[in-house]
């Protein structure tokens, strides 16, 4: 058997063409057997090399060798291409829709009152305060007497205060977090800088602006040389942290038994920023007044300091208190108190579990 150079070249050409034409690895495998296998033209040419005349052997051998190398290289190149095609295809085939819903479980939420309570606590801790707490069933002495609210004061009637049976036990659901201030003054020695968040109770029916169970945050400072100017500075800082830059406070003379001088705290209307006047009362948030009532405050009444044994020659103090629900309503545009207190999970879930 003899093979001509032309045949070798033809085998090589047909192998190269087949390799190029293989569309995937399976086809290439068939091509390999056909064109590089034992029965392929090029293998046969190799086998025939022994029979080639000696003087032609070198030339023929070189031609066969070069042809095989060329075909092998083409094969290797092709296999790389096809493998890479396959890998790319697999990645495409394995694609998933990453936008599929992931809400296997519903997501939870922290009640915004809790978040607000934490935010306010953090703000005041940053200002050097500590967070003080106390019980919700409270002794009348701590809730009233020590706060200069004597036995015949209207606040101590059943219209305002929940009394625990029997009345002789002198226990009430605290009507404000002020008894925590009293407890703090009885337990600690000044300087005292505390913030008192907590649940409070008054016998109001639930409606859009009232709830019998609500939350307050109160602040108490007892130190040397504390003035009403310090109170004003603290409230301004607090208001800005709650409602944004430029939201200052206004103090209006008022009356509370436990403070003197006493004041109502208003904040600059965050909706119109006080740009509405009584003539142009288009602001729905403040009804054109430019100010919104936020809480109460004042210098701690000497009678309260006296009941708590604070030395008035050395120390003076201020206190302030705000409703958390009211603050929350302002901050988030909540118009109905019931949404906050009824426990509808949609309300809380909207605020989410993070911040």
């Amino acid at each position: 058997m003899s093979i001509s150079i032309a045949e070798v070249e033809e085998s090589a050409a047909s192998a190269l063409s087949a390799i190029a034409g293989a569309k995937d690895l399976a086809e290439l495998k068939v091509v390999k057997i056909e064109h590089l296998g034992d029965k392929s033209g090029l293998s046969k040419a190799s086998q025939a090399l022994g029979k080639v005349a000696a003087e032609e052997k070198a030339t023929f051998g070189k031609i066969v060798g070069e042809a095989k190398a060329k075909v092998s290289a083409a094969f290797e190149a092709r296999i790389k291409v096809l493998e890479s095609d396959r890998d790319a295809r697999v990645l495409i085939e394995e694609r998933v829709d990453v936008t599929l819903p992931l809400d296997r479980r519903s997501s939870g939420g922290i009640h915004p009152l809790t978040s607000l309570r934490e935010d306010i606590s953090d703000l005041f801790i940053g200002m050097g305060y500590e967070v003080a707490e106390g019980p919700e069933i409270e002794a009348e002495w701590l809730n009233f007497d020590a706060l200069n609210i004597p036995a015949d004061h209207p606040a101590r009637t059943m219209q305002d205060t929940f009394f625990i049976e029997p009345i002789s036990a002198g226990l009430v659901l605290r009507t404000h977090t002020s008894p925590v201030q009293i407890r703090t003054m009885l337990e600690r020695t000044p300087p005292i800088y505390v913030i008192c968040p907590g649940r409070t109770f008054r016998s109001d029916e639930l409606d859009a602006t009232h709830t019998p169970v609500f939350n307050q945050v109160e602040g108490l400072v007892i130190d040397r040389g504390i003035t009403m100017a310090n109170l004003k500075g603290t409230l301004d800082h607090f208001a800005t942290a709650m409602f944004g830059q430029g939201i200052v406070t206004r103090l209006r003379p008022s009356f509370f038994p436990f403070t003197e001088p006493s004041a109502e705290v208003d904040i600059r209307c965050f909706a119109c920023r006080g740009e509405n006047t009584l003539e142009n009362d288009s602001c729905r948030t403040c009804r054109g007044e430019g100010w919104i009532e936020w809480g109460g405050c004042g210098m701690v009444n000497p009678k309260v300091l006296q009941a708590c044994g604070v030395d008035q020659n050395e120390f003076s103090g201020f206190a302030f208190g705000m409703g958390l629900e009211r603050t929350l309503m302002f901050r988030h545009g909540i118009t109905d108190m019931r949404d906050i207190v009824e426990g509808d999970i949609r309300f809380t879930q909207h605020f989410g579990a993070g911040r």
Binding site: P101, A146, R252
Partner: protein, 818 residues
């Protein structure tokens, strides 16, 4: 308090161009909340004139009688009118075309009943003068000159302020007090209306009615008049002012007492002198049991009620409401005016015990000037004499008034308390403006005498407040205090935040529920022991829910039910809050004063009197925890989800709880886990009792948990463990035990037997069925062993495994599954 600003202007000459905004700001700045400003001129426009009825033609062809009226308003206008209560010659108010009446109701000449009605004859209501619309307003001739402007005469262009008065400012419940405040605010001269009343008691006769005080008052004046004309009417200006202050005109005697009360602040009462039996006594009710008050209510008296009485019984509930039997009627000829200064606390109690908050009681409670009784009673008598033709007879009085103590006042006090600088001159100016007298003989300690109308001024701090107030709170600087370093949150506060965040991140939603519980709920829950010891409110919002919660789960279930009613089908919710258990019957309150700090013993007693109210966290689960979707089937909440949440809560407090089977209401007796830390119970979890689920209509298999956060100790700081790099050796064990055996016991036995080198034990299978005998269970565990210093050999670990199996066999009868 409502008042027309023109009345105030009589005593503080407010500039004509002062707008109501400025007045509002001055009032607010002085501590008087302005609840409303009504400018009547905004609602009414002329021409509105007085006219005289010239002729009336009755028109009868329509369903109702109609009149065709000619009125002379300086010119003749013909007007259609439906009212019948006037006659030819009467003076009436006519709104002419172009006028605007409140409504708004513009007046034009219009065709009606076949004629051109050229204006409108007005009723009081149409003019915005109260509710009377029984007919048109017929004027007294002398009040209403023909053709003159009715708007000015009737005060239909007044500005009316409505102002809230704080409880310490009784003096401001009067024109006198408001005028004084506005005079100070605008730096105007103030004419005290009390000083305009001439009282000449030294030369006066005594009156026919004697008076004495047994208790409850320190000053009283009775002044009597006779020959009262019973047909006398209140003058128009008085009626209008009372109307603008929100009061109805009743009779000249009552109107006069109200008028003087509003002007001066002293409540008065007018008695029919002829209906008083003997003398008048101020006393507590004691044996006097009832009174019929002038609102015609028969009232049971409380023995401590302060009364004005005569020899036959109660004439009035002092300072609160007069009696029906002694009130002035249309037949009264002799009137006795009573003006007293009562103990404010007793009047507050009078008002509260009868739920009668009246104009008088509100003033007495807040404090009335005690030096007004002789003046106000004289003013009332003068008005009666002037307008009823009465004769003043004379007076009787009791005066036990003690003079107020002088206040020791350091003129530096305002600067020290308020911050900023208040000079002695500024302080003096304020104190004098409010009526104080200052004795400055000691430079550093002034002796300040308060004015009689300011009973609220008792101590230095009260004067400081006045200095701050009248200088304007807006002038107080804003200065942050230099505060000390904070220790940050307490461990309890940090714990609270962690557990809330944990449960929210686990997909639970925080709720806050009311702590009020019904007896029915307690019974459905099946609470016993401490959980059944509820505090009861004396005055609950709802008689259905008078108890305070002893547990968080009932409130969580209620909140769940509310959500179900709004269409929610699955939920996981949690609440953090206090619970209250009346473990001891509440004892009587310790009695402690407020004049000094209580003793350590008293404080301890007081704090111990307040019950412990542990902070708990609870959860409630119902419906699907995982929903069905592209990932496959959903899954419902079950007992294990509740317990897992509870365990996670305890872990986030720094402890791995042990879990024990329990039978604890309101849980399913076979599906309730008790969690313990260091052997102490800290909470329960699991599936709710089927009885609770069916009674409340909850989704099947609903679960709940509650952990008492206060019962979990605070862990010491954790010592680090060194991490070994040796390779672990793994051994699997499958054991068969009787199905009563509790897994925790089996696991503990394996741990005991496996020895110290056991690093971890995990259950990977629990099986019952073919290959396992009836009534038994197969458990398969993976045990991981590791030593810190060497790689363990198979032989050594095989020994530990065998020892574990022996231990399990001994403790639980476990045999190796072949």
């Amino acid at each position: 308090m409502k008042f027309p600003i023109s009345w105030v202007s009589e005593f503080a000459k407010l500039p004509k161009d002062l707008d109501s905004d400025s007045i509002t700001q001055a009032l607010v700045g002085a501590g008087f909340e302005v609840e409303g400003v009504q400018n009547l001129a905004d609602e009414i426009k002329g021409p509105i004139k007085f006219g005289k009825v010239i002729s009336i033609e009755e028109i009868t062809e329509y369903k109702k009688p109609i009149r065709w009226v000619s009125v002379d308003v300086g010119e003749i206008h013909n007007v259609i009118c439906g009212a019948q209560n006037f006659k030819v010659g009467d003076h009436v108010v006519v709104a002419l075309p172009g006028a605007l009446l409140p409504g708004p109701f513009p007046i034009t000449a219009r065709e009606t009943y076949g004629r051109t009605s050229d204006g409108m004859i007005c009723s009081a209501r149409e003019l915005g003068m109260g509710d009377d619309h029984t007919g048109i307003l017929v004027m007294e001739e002398q009040d209403s000159p023909i053709g003159s402007d009715a708007i000015a005469t009737l005060g239909l262009d007044e500005v009316i302020f409505d102002v809230a008065i704080n409880p310490d400012r009784g003096y401001a419940m009067s024109i006198r007090g408001i005028a004084r405040e506005l005079a100070t605010a605008f730096n105007l001269d103030f004419q005290d209306p009390a000083s305009l009343v001439e009282v000449n008691d030294a030369n006066s006769q005594s009156g026919p009615i004697k008076v004495s005080i047994i208790e409850g008052a320190d000053r009283i004046h009775l002044r009597s008049v006779s020959e009262v004309n019973p047909n006398a009417k209140s003058p128009l200006w008085m009626v209008r002012r009372l109307q603008m202050c929100g009061m109805r005109s009743i009779s000249i005697a009552v109107d006069v007492t109200n008028y003087v009360m509003i002007e001066l602040g002293q409540p008065l009462h007018a008695f029919d002198s002829d209906r008083i039996k003997g003398s008048i006594i101020v006393r507590s009710a004691k044996e006097i049991k009832t009174i019929k008050t002038l609102d015609e209510q028969q009232r049971e008296l409380f023995p401590e009620n302060l009364l004005i009485a005569d020899e036959s019984g109660a004439l009035a509930i002092a300072g609160t409401m007069g009696g029906f039997e002694s009130e002035v009627t249309s037949k009264t000829k002799a009137i006795t005016i009573e003006a007293a200064h009562f103990d404010p606390v007793l009047i507050a109690k009078n008002a509260r015990s009868h739920k009668l908050s009246t104009e008088a009681s509100r003033r007495f409670e807040r404090g009335v000037d005690p030096l007004l009784t002789h003046i106000a009673s004289m003013r009332a008598v003068n008005l009666l004499v002037e307008h009823t033709g009465a004769n003043y007879i004379g007076f009787n009085s009791v005066d036990n008034l003690k003079s107020a103590q002088k206040i020791q006042f350091d003129p530096q006090a305002p600067s020290k308390v308020i911050g900023g600088k208040y000079t002695n001159e500024v302080v003096q100016e304020v104190l004098r403006a409010i009526g104080c007298e200052i004795d400055e003989s000691k430079k550093d300690l002034w002796q300040v005498t308060r004015p009689s109308w300011r009973p609220d001024l008792n101590a230095s701090i009260d004067l400081v407040e006045e200095v701050a107030r009248l200088n304007g709170y807006e002038n107080i600087p804003s200065i942050l205090p230099a505060s000390p370093l904070s220790r940050g949150l307490t461990p309890a506060q940090r714990r609270r935040r962690r557990v809330v965040q944990l449960l929210a991140n686990r997909g639970l939603t925080e709720v806050q529920s009311y702590p009020f519980v019904s007896a029915e709920t307690i019974s459905i829950m099946g609470f016993t022991g401490d959980r059944a010891k509820s505090y009861r409110l004396a005055n609950p919002i709802s008689e259905q829910e008078p108890f305070l919660r002893t547990h968080l789960v009932p409130g969580l279930i209620q909140t769940g039910l509310k959500n179900f009613s709004r269409g929610v089908r699955s939920l996981g919710i949690f609440e953090i809050g206090n619970i209250y258990r009346a473990i001891n019957e509440p004892s009587d309150s310790p009695i402690i004063g407020v004049d000094t700090k209580p003793s350590a013993e008293e404080i301890a007693k007081l704090l111990a009197h307040v019950p412990k109210q542990p902070l708990c966290i609870g959860g409630f689960f119902a419906g699907a925890i995982e929903r069905e979707s592209w990932w496959g089937k959903g899954r419902n909440f079950d007992w294990s989800d509740a317990t897992e949440a509870a365990v996670e809560v305890v872990r986030s407090c720094g402890y791995e709880p042990t879990i024990h089977a329990s039978d604890f209401a309101p849980w399913h007796p076979g599906r309730c886990a008790e969690l313990r830390v260091n052997g102490t119970m800290v909470g329960h979890s699991g599936e709710l009792h089927p009885r609770v689920i069916s009674a409340l209509g909850l989704p099947e298999r609903a679960g709940a948990f509650m952990v008492n956060l206060d019962a979990i100790p605070y862990p010491e700081s954790v010592k680090a463990k060194s991490i070994t790099t040796m390779v672990p050796t793994i051994q699997d064990i499958a054991l068969i035990v009787k199905s009563e055996v509790v897994l925790a016991d089996l696991t503990n036995a394996l741990i005991q037997g496996a020895g110290e080198l056991l690093e971890k034990i995990e259950l990977f299978d629990r099986y019952q069925g073919a290959g396992v005998p009836e009534g038994q269970l197969s458990y398969a565990f993976t045990l991981t062993f590791r030593a810190a210093d060497r790689t363990l050999t198979a032989e050594e670990v095989g020994g530990y495994r065998a020892s574990a199996i022996v231990s399990a066999n001994k403790a639980c009868g476990a045999v190796l599954r072949s």
